[in-house]
């Protein structure tokens, strides 16, 4: 079997057992990245530094760390010391951070070899991986289709066997959506489970860093390394969770399934959810229908809050302190010209929406109401979890859409997030597990209470085993 076809766990164990070296594993990843360049999954790779790190690992002969010698790609909105971090934006095309994000530091301390950065929707704003200054990411199962977004390159690189795992980020479905479209496992962790220090913010109250891999166990291995309290993120308060301590199975658990599906959902997606429900039931779960808060109101609340936070977070991009600087005869002229030429259309649109929501009549009309809806959604999920242990729902309303198939109505694309944004608003964890693969992948998501990731891993791994039979 090719090294690159191995899961993260199998690769790590192979290195430990001396079947191959960390250098061989790293070289194999670079070879696949070069071979599959047309998929456009990566923005920056650093062969020299990565091979040096792998060589040091081999020379140390100490492979006791949880990710020793494992090559990993990082989404390009997460800061990596000495390695360009562009957010797929013209504004940051040449930006090189001087520190590592906490998540990256923890991966390195666990022995992972950071080999490069993945393509994405600019600043995380998009559902298809098309809003990138570096071009769209193609779906490895059908290159005429998108990979999903915004962690498009992370999902694509894992699905196409370039790396065993990659790190993504999720604000309103940016891990679970591309995971579904590319047929890989993706975890949107509980809000604040993984430190956001070093993540270039899109919407701070919603942003999360999470793993994408080819098995549930691999996601758990990465969470074990990345999660936990961090003094550099004031919301990252919990520590001590053991993400590897879970029982595989669903016997005796109550699983909530949607009592109805949102109008636009593809029948193939409904069939995938029903297939997963049958597997869960056959393995001892009790299924109960639930009225899950999914709809236009939740979508509106999500976009009002995320655009408002984006407008505020991206206000610091003035062209003076970092990134692209355009010419101008005053501070304002430099700032306006740098932002206008540096940001892509979708980012500019969301900043303008955000300022619409935060100023004048928009504040009472949208922002306050959106926050009320957010609280209601959180309370409704609280009520649902009094009646069931977890929820099964679609990850995406359709299979991967064709590239360049966007509607003239820009808000039409928001509907792709419809099953993800309520979970984001409530800060809950969600695990996407592939269910169907032919002709195109479809994943379903398991949603649990805050910090219930081990439960999701246990049920997800059972589902994964049953599907692969």
């Amino acid at each position: 079997m090719k090294i690159t076809a191995l899961t993260l766990t199998a690769l790590r164990d192979g290195i430990r057992q001396g079947k191959f070296s960390a250098v061989e594993a790293t070289e194999a990843a670079f070879s696949e990245i070069a071979e599959l360049k047309d998929l456009n999954a990566t923005i920056t790779v650093d062969k020299e530094k990565a091979l040096n790190a792998a060589k040091l690992a081999d020379e140390s002969k100490d492979f006791s760390r949880p990710l020793s010698g494992v090559p990993i790609l990082i989404k390009d909105n997460i800061c990596t010391k000495g390695l360009k971090t562009t957010c797929a934006s013209e504004f940051l095309r040449e930006f090189t951070p001087i520190y590592d994000a906490t998540a990256v530091k923890r991966l390195k301390n666990a022995g992972a070899i950071i080999i490069g950065k993945t393509n994405m929707d600019e600043f995380g704003m998009g559902s298809r991986g098309e809003n990138s200054a570096f071009g769209a990411v193609k779906n490895p199962h059908d290159p005429s289709r998108c990979a999903g977004g915004s962690s498009s390159g992370s999902a694509c690189s894992v699905a196409s066997f370039q790396v065993p795992a990659a790190i993504g980020t999720d604000t309103g479905g940016s891990i679970t959506l591309p995971a579904s479209h590319c047929g890989v496992v993706g975890l949107k962790p509980t809000y604040s489970a993984v430190s956001r220090f070093g993540l270039i913010a899109y919407a701070s109250s919603l942003d999360r860093i999470g793993p994408i891999a080819r098995s549930v166990r691999d996601c758990a291995e990465i969470m074990q390394v990345m999660a936990g309290r961090d003094g550099l993120d004031g919301t990252c308060v919990k520590s001590g969770a053991d993400y590897l301590d879970y029982a595989v199975g669903v016997n005796g658990l109550t699983v909530g399934i949607p009592s109805h599906f949102f109008g636009g959902v593809d029948e193939k997606v409904v069939a995938a959810v029903q297939k997963a429900a049958r597997i869960l039931e056959r393995n001892g779960a009790r299924l109960v229908e639930m009225d899950i808060p999914v709809g236009e109101k939740e979508l509106g609340a999500y976009y009002a809050i995320s655009c408002a936070e984006a407008a505020s977070n991206l206000a610091r991009f003035d062209g003076i302190k970092f990134g692209k600087r355009a010419d101008g005869s005053s501070y304002n002229e430099i700032c306006v010209a740098s932002r206008t030429s540096g940001f892509g259309d979708e980012v500019k649109r969301r900043i303008v929406f955000g300022n619409h929501v935060l100023s004048g009549e928009g504040y009472s009309r949208y922002y306050i109401k959106a926050n009320k809806v957010r609280r209601e959604v959180t309370e409704r999920f609280g009520g649902i979890f009094e009646k069931c242990d977890l929820i099964l729902s679609p990850s995406a309303p359709s299979v991967a859409p064709l590239l360049d198939a966007k509607s003239s109505d820009v808000t039409e694309g928001f509907l792709e997030d419809i099953y993800n944004v309520p979970i984001s608003l409530a800060g809950l964890p969600s695990l996407c597990v592939p269910i169907n693969s032919n002709p195109l992948p479809i994943g379903v998501q398991l949603v649990g209470k805050a910090f219930s990731e081990p439960l999701l891993f246990g049920v997800g791994e059972m589902l994964e085993r049953e599907v692969s039979r």
Partner: protein
């Protein structure tokens, strides 16, 4: 709410962005789509106590002075620096 051209110009100014006349028309149409899409929020009744974002559990750090990043390293990210400072056009006449 009908979106007027002057509203878009005000939002562009708040956003520190500029655009051509054609882009302005497009932005107006996009903002109108946004308004239509999220009409469902109009039905939400709010009271005075709803004027609060959702609070996350959080902690604060002790306010202690300690070594941070190197000044020269930080300035490398900027396009124009001099004598350890960012260079901008004169702001005080």
């Amino acid at each position: 709410m009908a979106i007027k051209e002057k509203d878009i110009k005000r939002l562009l100014s708040l956003s520190m962005l500029s655009c051509s006349d054609d882009e302005l028309k497009r932005l107006k149409s996009d903002l109108e789509s946004f308004e239509n899409r999220f009409r469902s929020l109009d039905e939400v009744e709010v009271s005075a106590c709803d004027n609060l974002p959702r609070a996350h559990e959080s902690f604060t750090r002790a306010d202690v002075v300690k070594d941070s990043c190197d000044r020269e390293e930080i300035l490398k990210s900027a396009a124009n620096t001099e004598k350890g400072c960012f260079v901008v056009p004169r702001v005080v006449e």
